[in-house]
């Protein structure tokens, strides 16, 4: 069976390490970038099954990545995965076309895998 391809965007290396371990072991192929500029370039060049996007990033932040992707009608589905938890941030990214918003500190690794599998199962 074909493996699903994900893009993981986040500059917190220890968190990225745990995520990569779990995602790879859950049968996903994962590209990883640690800044917004590379994230935007990656989604312009590639079609992923899902993008996991942090918001606080060096250089171009996640809000800007999302905004540009939306403006240019980028076909990649973007799930925001961040530790920002203010209601205003959630509403902002949902209005910019994110398919969902998960708060890292509220989400276990298993819950993340379940969420991604459920999303991909629906496609």
């Amino acid at each position: 069976m074909k493996k699903h391809k994900l893009l993981l965007v986040g500059d917190e290396k220890p968190l990225a390490k745990a995520l990569m371990l779990k995602l790879n072991d859950s049968d996903f192929i994962v590209d990883y970038v640690d800044n917004g500029t590379e994230a935007y370039n990656s989604i312009q060049k590639n079609k992923y099954d899902l993008v996991l996007l942090d918001l606080v990033l060096p250089g171009m932040n996640g809000f800007t990545v999302l905004e540009k992707a939306s403006k240019n009608k980028n076909p990649n589905a973007i799930l925001v995965f961040s530790n920002l938890s203010q209601e205003e941030d959630i509403q902002k990214v949902m209005s910019m076309g994110a398919i969902g918003y998960l708060i890292k500190s509220d989400t276990s690794l298993n819950e993340l895998i379940t969420y991604i599998n459920n999303y991909l199962g629906k496609k």
């Binding site: 220890p14 968190l15 500190s105 819950e111």
Partner: protein, 229 residues
């Protein structure tokens, strides 16, 4: 703008990163696909994870409180909302928590609109704290009653759980900053003691009223009353 509040907000937000890392690595440690542990080791890792969750709860609650106090200088953003929508939005956020403990929500009085002029975000937060407490202290496979009672001059929200209850002697302190009742601590549930403090503050800002009735080991009912005039 208060500089020390901003530094505190920055620090609290930064703390979430290593705490999240701990949470995930501890989860991997407890996963048999990543490590094989003795029963004693598992117990120790579980205790580590519990303490990490405690720290996380404290950081998150402090963030909420500092954000709230920082923004309190601005007026309430009042708008006409249907209280039912605010409640349902908060319940949606805790769907996973409800599922984990097999808790059911019984909505009563939701058959007609309950229109209020309130700050939707702040009241949402106030209700979220009460619902979170109801879930946290509820026994598994029980019901949480959420009822809206409408009178000529007021709308009262009641949130009832079948949980551990609050000892009578501690009732006067329950809305205090950082206060946690002795049976909450005894039951080892996480909590920072900030949630109800903030809820009461928000309700009073709306010139409303908040009180509760409780019986140890039977449960608690929280009442939030909004005056219509």
């Amino acid at each position: 703008m208060n500089k020390s509040q901003d530094y505190l907000l920055l620090l609290l937000h930064q703390l979430k990163t290593p705490l999240t890392g701990n949470k995930w690595f501890l989860e991997l440690m407890l996963d048999k696909d990543y490590s094989v542990l003795t029963a004693k080791q598992k117990e120790i890792i579980n205790d580590l994870a519990f303490n990490n969750d405690l720290m996380m709860t404290l950081v998150k609650d402090m963030l909420t409180l500092v954000n709230f106090e920082k923004n309190q200088g601005t007026k309430l953003h009042l708008e006409e909302v249907d209280l039912r929508e605010v409640i349902k939005a908060e319940v949606t956020k805790v769907t996973l928590m409800l599922k984990k403990k097999e808790l059911r929500i019984n909505y009563i009085g939701f058959d007609k609109p309950a229109i209020l002029k309130i700050d939707r975000l702040k009241i949402g937060l106030a209700i979220q704290n009460v619902i979170n407490n109801a879930i946290k202290y509820s026994k598994e496979d029980t019901e949480i009653r959420i009822e809206i009672k409408q009178a000529k001059d007021s709308i009262t929200l009641e949130i009832q759980d079948s949980g551990i209850g609050i000892p009578k002697s501690e009732a006067p302190n329950i809305f205090g900053k950082f206060y946690r009742s002795s049976n909450a601590i005894k039951n080892e549930t996480e909590g920072s003691g900030l949630g109800l403090y903030l809820t009461r503050k928000i309700v009073l800002m709306h010139k409303g009223d908040i009180w509760f009735e409780s019986r140890e080991n039977f449960g608690t009912i929280f009442y939030i009353k909004f005056n219509l005039h």
